[in-house]
């Protein structure tokens, strides 16, 4: 019987290429767009960035008449316009962790590293693709949220600022850059921890648990230390006011970028050294 069965023949491959970074970039892009979690996380991130400022603008407008002068003074149009950034960063961070942790939980990392055994190009490509995608998505979102919230507030003729006012354009664009860097930081966390729950926990600990913990310290210590935390340093990218104990936008942004670089460096060293 077996003699009658024709031999299965593998069709030859007419072209042969080698691994190159632009190819790994394309490969990682295919992976990014071909899982549901990407669409969900990015969609939620985009919507939240816009939804919160819109809701806050409506609420502020409708309650403006009953607000005390001190309450009114506490409202800043830029805080309203960028209110979504704090929420959207969670969606972007979760996806950042997942982009690499899911490769470990499903085992696809073995396929990935079989195709690109030098490994590091995979990390660079994931970071580049995700940075580009998150920036391209969140940048329009913060612009929309700025102009939408201003338009809503304009109906009641309150809290008006111009995009060209000093620091405003920087803060709006800074919000998008902050979210992009958060995604990068989270991806590095995922690569270090190699586990979805662990990666998200590590991110949450650094961004949401560490800052309030600082308040148990004496005020002078808190003031001295808090400004150098990743979340506080990064926040300066999109905040308009600067207190005595906060870094400037440039210094804060650079420090946050340095934290990202450090996390990436650790991830890179571990990626090359560890068995998969």
């Amino acid at each position: 019987m077996s003699t009658l069965t024709p031999t299965v023949r593998l069709p030859p491959l007419e072209t042969t290429g080698r691994v190159a970074f632009h190819r790994v970039l394309l490969s990682e892009w295919t992976k990014l767009r071909s899982v549901r979690s990407t669409k969900w996380s990015l969609g939620v991130g985009f919507l939240l960035t816009i939804a919160f400022p819109v809701i806050f603008s409506f609420v502020t407008s409708s309650h403006w008449g009953s607000m005390s002068p001190s309450e009114r003074a506490g409202r800043h149009p830029l805080d309203i316009a960028l209110a979504g950034v704090n929420v959207a960063q969670l969606a972007i961070a979760v996806l950042g962790v997942l982009l690499i942790s899911a490769e470990y939980s499903t085992g696809s990392i073995r396929s990935t590293f079989t195709a690109v055994p030098k490994r590091l190009p995979v990390l660079w490509a994931k970071l580049s693709d995700y940075a580009a995608v998150s920036l391209v998505l969140i940048l329009p979102a913060v612009l929309i949220s700025f102009f939408a919230s201003q338009a809503i507030l304009a109906k009641h003729d309150i809290l008006q600022i111009s995009f060209t006012d000093p620091g405003v354009a920087r803060a709006v664009l800074g919000g998008a850059i902050y979210v992009m860097l958060v995604g990068i930081f989270a991806l590095a966390m995922g690569a270090i921890v190699r586990n979805t729950a662990g990666g998200i926990a590590a991110f949450a600990a650094i961004f949401f648990v560490l800052p309030p913990l600082m308040f148990v310290l004496p005020t002078s210590w808190n003031n001295a230390i808090s400004q150098y935390l990743p979340s506080e340093a990064g926040r300066q990218l999109f905040s308009l006011h600067h207190a005595a104990h906060t870094l400037t936008p440039v210094a804060g942004g650079l420090l946050f970028a340095a934290y990202c670089a450090a996390a990436i460096a650790i991830a890179a060293v571990l990626l090359v050294r560890r068995d998969v």
């Binding site: 299965v8 491959l13 190819r23 394309l26 071909s34 899982v35 499903t106 396929s111 079989t114 055994p117």
Partner: protein
């Protein structure tokens, strides 16, 4: 060509691969045999550079896997453990791998057709059966038209038709001059597919030999003999190291003598024989005999140490 020398891998205090040296030659199917947990999958991960060896070295087509500029053209591998994102479709999984080497899209669809996954190519692989997962893994292994094909338990979960298909595929790949290295814990499968065998137990090399030699070496001397005068024959053959088992219908299974020895003894006593058949141990039995020795030896050693 795969060349391993003194390959060793420890996981913590457990030694998974222990000083393995072997060469897998092109042009033939080499079976990689061993009980579950004997270190086959670990060895394959070491070959692919997924795990780093504790000691020793392994190269594929003359270089470390990691140093090949186009690894998918050198080695196509099917790993035993699942290595596909369950949320991604088969098509996108293969496409992403192909793109790292600039392999065109139509190659992806060609291979999906070749392994018979056309109908489900756009479905998420999390919904795949074990057999479909194996077919996807085989498509992945062949994507880069590799010189060396390395498959870990490829027939696991396949139906008889699929098993037959894989067998033909492997023979065809070897006939084209490729190196084909296939692991299995099923000896019967290797008997039908492999030309050469590398057998390991507890991470150590037990045998590196052709299938025929392997069976011959591990076979015990067993002869089936049929005669109208069985009782006389039995008395004639009896001696130290010789035992008998009833084989039914006037036949006797003689252990410990060759067919020549039985024939000569019968002729000398003038006993008529109706059948004289040397029994080959099946590959399965041969394997069990060899690995049992290995396991018993290891157990004895542990007792001695304790």
């Amino acid at each position: 060509m795969i060349e391993a020398s003194e390959l060793t891998k420890d996981y913590g205090s457990k030694r998974a691969v222990d000083g393995l040296s072997f060469t897998v030659q092109p042009g033939i199917v080499t079976g990689f045999l061993g009980p579950n947990g004997s270190g086959k999958s670990t060895t394959m991960r070491l070959i692919l550079g997924l795990d780093a060896p504790t000691d020793g070295d392994v190269t594929v087509n003359g270089r470390h896997y990691r140093d090949h500029p186009a690894p998918l053209h050198e080695v196509g591998a099917l790993l035993e453990s699942r290595s596909v994102h369950t949320g991604r479709s088969a098509y996108n999984h293969l496409l992403a791998l192909a793109q790292t080497h600039g392999i065109p899209k139509h190659r992806v669809t060609d291979l999906i057709d070749l392994v018979g996954l056309h109908e489900v190519a756009r479905k998420r692989t999390g919904q795949f059966s074990l057999g479909m997962g194996q077919r996807l893994g085989i498509a992945q292994a062949l994507l880069g038209d590799p010189k060396t094909v390395m498959l870990d338990e490829p027939v696991n979960g396949l139906d008889p038709e699929g098993i037959h298909w894989v067998r033909n595929l492997l023979k065809g790949l070897a006939a084209e001059g490729r190196t084909v290295f296939v692991s299995s814990h099923l000896m019967s499968e290797m008997a039908l597919t492999a030309d050469h065998l590398i057998v390991i137990g507890r991470g150590k090399l037990i045998a590196d030999t052709s299938v025929d030699d392997f069976v011959a070496r591990a076979s015990q001397k067993v002869v089936i003999v049929r005669s109208p005068e069985l009782e006389r024959l039995r008395a004639e053959l009896a001696g130290p190291g010789v035992s008998f088992a009833e084989a039914g219908r006037g036949a006797l299974e003689v252990h410990g003598l060759t067919a020549e020895q039985v024939g000569n003894a019968a002729a000398g006593a003038g006993i008529v024989l109706h059948e004289l058949t040397p029994q080959q141990a099946s590959l399965e039995e041969a394997f069990m005999n060899l690995t049992r020795d290995e396991l018993e030896f290891a157990a004895d050693m542990e007792e001695a140490v304790a």
